[in-house]
């Protein structure tokens, strides 16, 4: 598996995907405090232009919470871009036939799934926490993060939600033949769970709730409220990985 993992890493670096992810997650990390910092200035500019029309805008106060609010609005977009970038990880290899010499050398298919899952989930973890770390550092520097409660638990919740989405993506990658099928399938599943999660009863159980880190930070909820969702997300991710292995064992390459 080490050899295949090394190949996955080489692919990430040499195809420029690694640099792109670094750039995207880095930018998303900087963008949150930057928007918060620029908000008073933008409001001032807007209030001057709207004054003639009779609108009066009051001064807004920004703090770390404004930046964290941006973080939870922007990070789903970063996740979508990440999914777009890794959706062809398996299907690209099916279409080119590059896995055939690997499998016919005797490398177990399970090790291929494990190496790809480890790389995709590892990249998500690194990218996500890079973004979180940049936002955290800037917030600390400008305003201090003391205002936000359960900051780390909130971050872990969205990271788990990302892993759950990637679990679906991995399963669909072993079942589908094209990147488009993987993308549509993952999108449909995530959207379905998101819509279901808006209903009060299923919302208490489904992983979609893990996206709502702001309630935790504002103190409207406590970590114990999310335990069911965390357990369900972990169990579903593990199941998706198991199904991926079983599906890839029977996959016609």
């Amino acid at each position: 598996m080490k050899a295949f993992l090394k190949k996955e890493w080489m692919e990430t670096i040499r195809t420029g995907r690694g640099f792109l992810l670094l750039l995207i997650f880095g930018l998303f990390g900087i963008m949150n405090p930057a928007i918060a910092r620029l908000t008073p200035w933008m409001m001032k500019v807007m209030s001057e232009s709207l004054r003639d029309a009779g609108f009066v805008m009051t001064a807004v106060e920004v703090n770390a919470m404004t930046s964290w609010s941006q973080f939870y609005k922007n990070i789903p977009l970063a996740l979508i871009i990440f999914v777009l970038l890794v959706s062809g990880s398996f299907t690209g290899e099916y279409q080119k036939g590059t896995l055939i010499p690997v499998v016919t050398r005797g490398l177990s298919r399970r090790k291929i799934v494990a190496a790809k899952a480890l790389m995709i989930m590892g990249l998500w973890t690194a990218g996500y926490f890079l973004s979180f770390g940049i936002t955290f550092a800037y917030n600390e520097y400008f305003w201090g993060n003391g205002i936000a409660s359960h900051l780390l638990f909130g971050a872990v919740c969205f990271w788990l939600f990302g892993l759950w989405v990637l679990g679906i993506l991995l399963f669909l990658s072993t079942a589908a033949r094209t990147g488009t099928q993987v993308l549509f399938g993952t999108g449909a599943a995530a959207l379905g769970i998101y819509v279901l999660g808006m209903l009060p009863a299923p919302g208490r159980w489904l992983p979609a709730r893990l996206m709502d880190g702001m309630s935790l930070l504002q103190g409207h909820t406590v970590p114990a409220d999310y335990f069911k969702n965390v357990i369900i997300a972990c169990a579903m991710t593990a199941l998706f990985l198991l199904f991926s292995v079983l599906c890839f064992d029977r996959k016609r390459l």
Partner: protein, 298 residues
């Protein structure tokens, strides 16, 4: 000992029965030609041997071990060169071969030695470019290097020469001939001159079955024994003989081809009785191509 054996193998894709009943054996240290028209099922057969497809019936063994669909253990004994070998384009040939060695669990010193040995064998030594910029011929040469990397007991090559120029083809055939010392080669092709050049044994796959199998000499002998060319002095004698024996096939203006050797005494008796003069009679030397055309009925 048999390195590879297929026993009554069947494969269907939807409505199409690609392999009806395929059985053949490949003895150790032979170069075995697997011949058939395009679409005859050669690649399907190879994928079944590699466990990349599931058999609908029958059994395949490699080195005495049964092949299982999916994760077959028999692949550790096999080196495979696909018809269109595809590699990771961002790697150099040396990096790709190192990757192959690591997958096979070889020690790093051995990987280094084998990489340089094989790159030199296929003429890619000192090639620092990434595979992205390689021609089809260079990819084919790298393909043979990766297939030989783990010193396989069985080397499977799917139409390895079909896209190469004459020089590249000769080089590849020389490599396969040399490989016979260490391994057994199963080599699918529709280029019959390649079979004549390097194969010890061969099998014709036609309409989902093995239509003919044996050593090159045996196959030629079977056919040659059965075929005699007769040339008569005059065209009218030829017509008379043809009228008496309708199974004779016309061969030029005065010639006839006799494929049933058991009918020869009767034909000769007829010629003597009717005082028809025979100019020439000889055993026919069939080319592999003629044999192939005969097998496929054209």
């Amino acid at each position: 000992m048999e390195m590879l054996a297929l026993n009554h193998v069947k494969k269907r894709f939807g409505e199409k029965q690609v392999l009806l009943d395929v059985s053949f054996c490949v003895p150790e240290h032979t170069v075995f030609g697997f011949v058939g028209q395009n679409g005859a099922g050669k690649t399907t057969s190879m994928k079944l041997i590699l466990g990349l497809l599931a058999c609908d019936g029958g059994e395949i063994t490699v080195g005495g071990e049964p092949v299982r669909y999916g994760n077959t253990r028999t692949n550790r004994l096999i080196g495979y060169l696909p018809d269109v070998p595809e590699f990771y384009p961002y790697m150099t040939p040396a990096e790709y071969l190192t990757f192959c060695g690591e997958i096979n669990g070889m020690a790093s010193g051995e990987i280094k030695h084998r990489t340089s040995e094989l790159l030199s064998l296929v003429g890619l030594e000192g090639e620092r470019r990434r595979i992205r910029g390689f021609s089809r011929g260079m990819k084919q040469r790298l393909g043979i290097a990766q297939a030989l990397f783990n010193r396989p007991k069985l080397l499977i090559c799917d139409e390895p020469t079909s896209a190469l120029d004459p020089a590249g083809r000769k080089e590849l055939l020389d490599i396969l001939t040399a490989a016979r010392e260490q391994t057994t080669v199963l080599f699918s092709t529709h280029i019959l001159s390649d079979v004549e050049h390097i194969c010890d044994e061969m099998a014709f796959l036609h309409e989902g079955k093995i239509a003919l199998q044996g050593s090159l000499e045996e196959i030629r002998r079977i056919r040659e024994e059965a075929a005699m060319e007769l040339e008569l002095e005059r065209p009218e004698d030829c017509k008379e003989l043809k009228a008496a024996f309708p199974f004779l096939k016309p061969l030029g203006s005065n010639g006839l081809l006799l494929e049933k050797s058991e009918a020869l005494p009767e034909v000769l008796r007829f010629l003597a009785d009717r005082r028809l003069s025979l100019r020439r009679m000889e055993r026919r030397e069939m080319s592999l191509e003629e044999l192939f055309m005969e097998v496929i009925g054209k």
